[in-house]
Amino acid sequence: MLGFELSEPATLDEAFDLLADGDPGVRPMGGGTALMLMMKAQIFKPERLVSLRNVGGCFDGLRIDADRSHIRIGGMTTFAEIECSPMVLQHLPAVVRTMKTLANIRVRHVASVGGNLAHADPHLDLPPVWMTHAASIRIVSKTGERVIPVEDLFAGYYETTLEGGELIAEVIVPVRPEWTSTYVKVTTRSAHDWPALGIAVSANLQGRRVNDLRLVLSAALDRPTRLVAAENELRGSDLDEAALKRAGEAAVAEVDIHSDSRGSAAYKQHLLRVHLSRAMHSLVGV
């Protein structure tokens, strides 16, 4: 790696000052696992890294609101802390299951949930899961704060809608006991490869009837994307083969999947039809 300055501000105000000049070579750092790979490959050559590990406050830890309506996960919370949290297991079990398929435990000891979102690599496993859980993020900056749905964070391949000096303080996930969720990581080479596609689903089911649902496709597109047309095919329907076939065709028609090293466009479209159906089946335990 090339030389750079490493700062570890102890307060959020100090962090904002260190990030203030808008220079693309000045970047905040969460756990740093993804940035380290980019720096080692010299894709990213920072002038200054601002580690957020000491800023504390709402950036750290996991909380549930007093009315138990939302879980708040600090941006610097590590994946392992989320994976090992009994509260997350109780209310967001699909998040814990997703962690088991994500990198390895050493990376999960270090990688942070906020850094993962800000990285905006479309192959990442957690962002689509946050999206199907209808999660939001609280973004803070020197001049204020805003809350946006996770799906509004992504602007494209490795690109976000974060402005210079904005930081992801926390992920806010609604507690929805009537919903069930799952995430399917579809790999086409080795089992532990990056996904060719990721399919996250959440549904409010009544028997086989879909009262409401969210479907998100990741990895095969430049950003994790809601499959709105497929959702519309299933919302209010019974989960039968005809409905799932219509949803699969709608999903393939509404997104523009390209060929890459993990499969041709036609192959990945086929995987989308098959695995979307299987994911929905798995929610009803069939």
């Binding site: 090339l2 300055e5 490493l6 380290m36 080692k40 050493r106 000891h109 270090v110």
Partner: protein
């Protein structure tokens, strides 16, 4: 602050201070400045586990960890897991089962296996294979590695690691 900074931390139970550059990784500092050769950089991407060390009691890939970030921390390497007189039960088990061929990946597997046994004292084969998913053995000694972890688990459950002779006569 692009210059070297002196950091102080605990390394294998003893206090150390080291002058390191901001862009140095933990594995570079350990192997080049501190002459600890057990953890070694192999894939350089956090995938293979050869550079596994503990930082504040948790396994990390030291190839993806900036050295300056261990300022004030407690760092343990493979060199620090036994008292110098007797090997750790996991080390003994790896030797007795023959859970390696070339040995390059072995320090990382042993560090991860110790942590695995802290989390799952009586692991199933699936738990062992899943916990070690981020450790690669190019000699493919995986069946013996799983056996060694199970042997170490039995030894830990028995309280102390019995001598091999006792085990064989039992």
């Amino acid at each position: 602050m692009t210059d070297a900074r002196t950091i102080r931390f605990t390394l294998n139970g003893a206090p150390v201070s080291v002058s390191v550059m901001p862009h140095e990784t933990l594995i570079e500092m350990l192997s080049l400045r501190l002459e600890l050769k057990g953890a070694r950089e192999s894939c350089g991407q956090g995938l293979c586990g050869c550079c596994t060390v503990y930082v504040n009691g948790k396994s990390v890939s030291s190839c993806l960890y900036l050295a300056q970030l261990v300022d004030g921390a407690n760092v343990v390497t493979i060199e620090g897991i036994n008292d110098g007189a007797r090997l750790d039960p996991v080390q003994e088990a790896f030797i007795e089962v023959g859970a390696f061929q070339c040995g390059f990946c072995t320090p990382g597997f042993i560090m991860m296996a110790r942590e695995l046994l802290d989390v799952h004292p009586n692991p199933t084969d699936d738990e062992i294979r899943h916990y070690l998913i981020g450790n690669l053995c190019r000699c493919s000694a995986y069946p013996e590695i799983v056996e060694a972890v199970k042997l170490a688990a039995r030894r830990r459950a028995a309280g102390t690691a019995p001598a091999l002779a006792q085990e064989l006569s039992a």
